[in-house]
Symmetry: C2
Subunit: 390 residues, 2 copies
């Protein structure tokens, strides 16, 4: 197939949350944008995700917050409990004071609902969405870049690599590989009516933290669905086995947990799982007319629930640096984007690792963690100001 | 030798700090007391020890506090620092507010000075001090007890076993053995003038806590001496070797510590060392006319600096329960002593272990410990009220 579609200002490789956010932000600023997606549809697998105010402020600016709020849930609190004894450790109120402080609400939403909102928004903004497109390479020079794909070549003044954790385009800038944490996530999103479960207390995002494991659950879709994520360190991975993190390890990993947590395992899919990877920060995301964004630029462990949020910050920043349509200095603007974003995302990546270690600590460390959490004033925002703040 | 000395009301086996405190407390209440000590002299090996208000209140009641204050030092603060980076973590002011709150000062004193004060006090109170006395057994019955020794038999209405961590008399009540922690202490007490060292900041008890190691130092003898204790987990012990904790392990154990700590190792004796042991709490300290006290009853790890203090609490309690001279109900009084003391000392023993774990934690636990310590309000007495309070 040697079609030669019209050149676009921007070609985005990858139609996930990050890629579509970038496409939408640039299209509404007046740029012509094309998104190339490998899969046959623009859709997300997975369950819920969390949008902190640093993302919802952007969604409001983009005019998408109302749709997100309608499809999602604004939980009452982030509540931490000890996974072993179930005891409450600390919480963050997500109330009016929180919303005022950070200029946006905290929302949880099904990934597929968020993606559908972004797809519709892109369509409204005139973004060209190209499915079934396998990108083979990007060739970039001082005046533009070309994407080679199974559907032909696509020209752009700028190409954005938004192809996720296992980004092939990142190889243009770094030879690093994803780093396996040895942890695996099981997820599940079910109508609450279908679960034999007390729905009490389900207005919170509850995080049970335990030795080598944790479980998070929260409501989705106006509280009609329950979202559950269970994460544990795989003994088989520790032993160096190829096949690790299977469902036979799940029950054992939570055998010492409190009854609420053990019961909650019933609300997980057993036929898929997500091994947890990240990468180390890299200082360079851009080359001529090419820039990385989202997980392709800064994949992170999920402990701060910032994967989608940081991808939206990327999109917002890149659009701001490029400015409104016309003839931007593409190379200079992407360099400014890189300069603004790399330090912050590196901090999120490294803090996510530490935060995971804090959740999963055992023994005397657990005792110290619990004491520190219990002593925390719920109105102390020290730990989140840097992340959620303006 | 088959001498037959006069019977005493109380025969105390062991002339250390605990035995002499018991002897003094009972003698001043009017009982006739004899102390049997294995060594040729009533003396202590070792360096400094700490006397918290729960002990100094008793010393004041006994009329000995002024002598202790004159021989010792009242430090300004208990100061905790991280052994690796040297950073300050938290402190407890030992100022007027502290003294008012707990009804007594915090004092550090050389062990030999404290023992000398107790020896003189016992002599003034008419206690018979018997050195070179190897106790072979105690035979107790409903009407009294007999100590069999190399110097003959000693009769008493009550025999007190104050023979320390490796108590032989404890075997009458429990078949447990000392439990090795795998940690070893090096100590040193030197005139500050002899040390090539900046004496600044030496008005504090400073505790540097680090992964698998810690170092404590404080002034002695009106600030003319420096007392240092360095404690570390022995790799040779971990490997199961017979000979462990030797001086060749000392430098290695502190190789990662900050310069202040590494320099402080110069102020340690290298020719002796103290492997650290404790035992688990036992519920029974008494049998007919026999009672355990001090380390023989409840040996503890030194992390709360309460060994001598708890022995003094034992002495004070036993004297209170026996009441003034006359014909006490010896068995009932010792049972009341046991009932009052076992729960508290068990808590001190188990808390000392946890406290040591907190000091020696590594990795993410150290990060949490440091954060918890740094956040502590210096005027928060939660952690010490139960221990130092009335």
């Amino acid at each position: 197939m040697n079609t030669a579609p019209d050149p676009a200002d921007v070609v985005v490789v990858g139609g996930g949350i990050g890629g579509l956010s970038t496409a939408y932000a640039l299209a509404t600023a007046g740029h012509s944008v094309r998104v190339l997606e490998r899969a046959p549809e623009f859709a997300e697998v997975g369950a819920g995700l969390q949008m902190a105010p640093n993302a919802t402020r952007i969604l409001r600016e983009w005019g998408l917050l109302d749709e997100v709020l309608e499809a999602g849930v604004t939980p009452r609190r982030l509540l931490f409990r000890d996974a072993l004894d179930g005891g409450e450790l600390t919480h963050l109120d997500l109330d009016d004071e929180f919303v005022r402080r950070y200029g946006g609400p905290y929302v949880v939403i099904h990934r597929s609902d968020l993606l559908a909102i972004l797809v519709r928004a892109c369509e409204r903004a005139g973004v060209a969405l190209v499915p079934n497109c396998q990108v083979r390479d990007v060739v970039t020079g001082p005046d533009g870049a070309t994407v080679h794909s199974n559907l032909g070549d696509y020209q752009g003044a700028l190409v954005v690599g938004a192809d996720g954790l296992r980004s092939t385009l990142r190889a243009k800038l770094s030879d690093d590989e994803p780093i396996c944490s040895g942890y695996v996530a099981y997820r599940g999103a079910f109508p609450i009516a279908d679960l034999d479960m007390d729905a009490g207390g389900l207005q919170d995002v509850v995080c049970y933290v335990g030795p080598g494991c944790h479980l998070v659950r929260y409501p989705l879709r106006r509280g009609e669905m329950l979202n559950t994520v269970a994460v544990f360190k795989s003994p088989a991975y520790e032993r160096g086995e190829e096949d690790w993190g299977g469902p036979e390890e799940l029950e054992t990993a939570f055998a010492g947990a409190c009854e609420d947590v053990r019961k909650a395992l019933a609300a997980l899919w057993r036929d898929r799982r997500w091994p947890m990877y990240d990468r180390l920060p890299i200082p360079t995301w851009t080359a001529d007319r090419f820039a990385l964004t989202g997980d392709a630029a800064h994949p992170m462990l999920q402990y701060l629930a910032q994967g989608a949020c940081q991808a939206m910050e990327d999109a917002h920043c890149l659009a701001t640096q490029l400015g409104d349509a016309g003839e931007p200095d593409w190379a200079a603007a992407t360099k400014r984007y890189e300069a603004e974003r790399t330090e912050r995302t590196a901090r999120v990546q490294s803090t996510a690792r530490v935060w995971g270690d804090i959740w999963h600590v055992d023994g005397i460390g657990r005792l110290l963690r619990n004491e520190l959490f219990r002593q925390r004033d719920p109105r102390d925002y020290t730990y989140v100001d840097w992340l959620y703040g303006q």
